[in-house]
Symmetry: D2
């Protein structure tokens, strides 16, 4: 039913990004999968029917605009953009430097802004579109371990709010989902080998809810969706 529709997933790695690609492709979307390194990207999602891969540094304005030009040429205008780029240095005050804060800010916030600059004006002209943003517990508060990461997610969250409030009345649904827990990945399983299955968020389950919110009827839109495993102590 979504045959002619285009979904862009920015920041595709194992976990959320991969699951978003699969889910939207399964639902009939033409999916553009974006990441820095094309090799890893192709390995990860290159074989999924309906997924096209693009390498892009989300913090470089020229690259961002070029990528969306190519997507428009090859797949069509994006209907849904999911901003999932967002690494971060973790550590307490002594363990991080200004460069860590800056890098984290660039990937999480500047990259989101450049992506918005590349896609929102067109969506506004059309009067429709969706921009979903991957948030984290750190989007809602800072703790010692997230000295570098939480400031970047705080910035990203406020930017998402500014965009949602400005573009909602234009028919564009900007929303964020707060992943409040640890995603189930080979890497996280290894780091937390004492935890059982219930401890982790399954990225396919995140993708399930993100897809639903991205398709909410416009008289009842969600801006902020928290997602956590049922056993989480919060």
């Amino acid at each position: 039913m979504n045959e002619e529709k285009v979904c862009v997933v920015v920041g595709v790695g194992p976990g959320n990004g991969e699951s978003f690609c699969r889910k939207f492709a399964n639902e009939g979307y033409q999916v553009a999968a974006l990441a820095r390194t094309k090799e890893k990207l192709d390995e990860l999602v290159g074989d999924i029917d309906g997924v096209t891969t693009y390498s892009q540094d989300a913090t470089d304005r020229a690259e961002v605009f070029e990528t969306y030009d190519r997507i428009r040429d090859e797949l069509g205008s994006p209907d849904v953009v999911l901003y999932n780029a967002g690494s971060g240095a973790f550590g307490t005050f002594d363990e991080v430097e200004a460069e860590d804060l800056q890098e984290s800010w660039e990937v999480n916030t500047k990259g989101l802004f450049l992506t918005a600059k590349a896609v929102l004006p067109e969506m506004r002209d059309r009067g429709s579109g969706v921009l979903g943003i991957t948030g984290a517990t750190a989007s809602t508060r800072g703790v010692p371990f997230t000295t570098a990461f939480a400031q970047a997610k705080g910035a990203q969250h406020h930017l998402a709010e500014s965009l949602a409030r400005e573009f909602g009345p234009q028919g564009i649904h900007v929303f964020t989902f707060i992943v409040d827990g640890v995603i189930d990945l080979p890497r996280t399983r290894e780091m937390m080998s004492d935890k059982d299955d219930d401890f982790f968020l399954d990225p396919d389950d995140i993708a399930h809810s993100v897809y639903e919110v991205a398709h909410q009827p416009k008289s009842a839109w969600t801006f902020k969706l928290d997602l956590r495993p049922y056993g989480e102590d919060w």
Copy 2:
């Protein structure tokens, strides 16, 4: 697919309650519709296939327990309970009295607690179940016009949070959806006749998202879902 499942909607009037009944009945649930006055209730949802009506004062402990005994006998154990009872006196400080605050508290908070007492222990024994609660902007803050209402919704919201945190690890999904806007009803249309269609939340659209959250996979549950019309100034 939900053939053997039972959904209870507490506080069925025109708007959310009615839409919840229709949506869950359409999806195959046996629906128990509860409200104070059986006549109005029967008129409203009595003809919907799969809906059974029960009169109940949600603030009366004995009545609440009796009602759930009857529901268990007649339909089966509730899988999903939606607590939608929640009127409130509106007005500034001079316009409300302690009785207004108490009444509002009883319907929104005491009623929710009694309902929880009637259904959560059984759900806990079974290790599954859903309790969804209708919130409002007043669940998140108090303003002059909501002197009586916001204190009740604040109480209800904290109760919902206590329940979600205690019963999540037991496999029971407690969540609340914050209706941040005006619901489309003959009554509200008349009161705000200068507003156009975009101003209102369609209760069917609320029901759509409530159904989705009530069926989220358990590795990624939402506690708090905000819902507002795309044109809302928030």
Copy 3:
């Protein structure tokens, strides 16, 4: 300098209430100390210069109005009212009943509203006055252990917000201070005998900041003040 000024402290027991009485009396206020049991009250603060004691059930409208009539006759019109009444049953879902929720709501919220009814109209006529409210961590969220208490503090917090927003422009400063930790009392020391001094809030230190906020210049008023021991893990 506060010679002709009157401060009412509602809910005087060992801890905050006693410290508020001492602090405001020391600063020259005529202090009215209110609590249910006159004997305990007299023992606690009856000997402090400038403190007059009154017994009052804060949840009984008639008693509340009579008490303020007596205060006006004997001391003068209240300039500052500190609402410190606020007990609560603690316990998880199974350990509390609807009566516990109601009692907690009555002391924390209904009592505040009745007090507001007794003092705010006069303050409004005069164009000045202060109403300070003792909050707690439970004013900001509900957890399993605070199933009864957090709903009451949530209600109280929203009521405080409604009052602050309505009465601020009338020249009346309504504020709340969130006590985020355990107050240093013989009772709490005994219960938590493994904790060292740094763990506890000194009620005199709370009184210090409450006094300051109650005397803020009106171009820069605080509504919500969090207070926690420096060593608190929050």
Copy 4:
């Protein structure tokens, strides 16, 4: 009584910065006033007894460290540091560019982090110290007009929270005050010439409360203080 104490005010312009310098100098502190342009700074606060001026770009690591070395030599180790640097480009999505977001982030967040790197380790060794941060409404949410500014203040707020949580138990009081309104300045008076006196925050009144919080006894510290004019509609 504060004779031997040193207070650093970062970002001294007309308004808050100037008022902080005056207030702390009046209370006996040796005050170091920092800003980019020494000429304007000398004009503004150069004549105040007890104030020494330093030019500094708060976003340049080397300059920041050099400045604090000089302050230590000339005045002594800082006891209180007030981070008041924080300009920002205002405007909706179309009116701002990535450079505006970056600049705003650098002044509000990177500058705070560099200042923290320059002063917190020494305070930690000593087991005492105060770091106060000027926040704004934009520290708590983003709206269209603050697309560039709110993301920076969101980042700053989370950084402040991370620092407060890490350094509180070390005896260092990190706090932020949210200025929720317009400060009374020749410039703002001109821009909003239709507003009367009650509309504006007097920076001396802000300084009054900041001084009080900076001197709270350590058993009852505030992290977040909101400040708004009594007539503000919030």
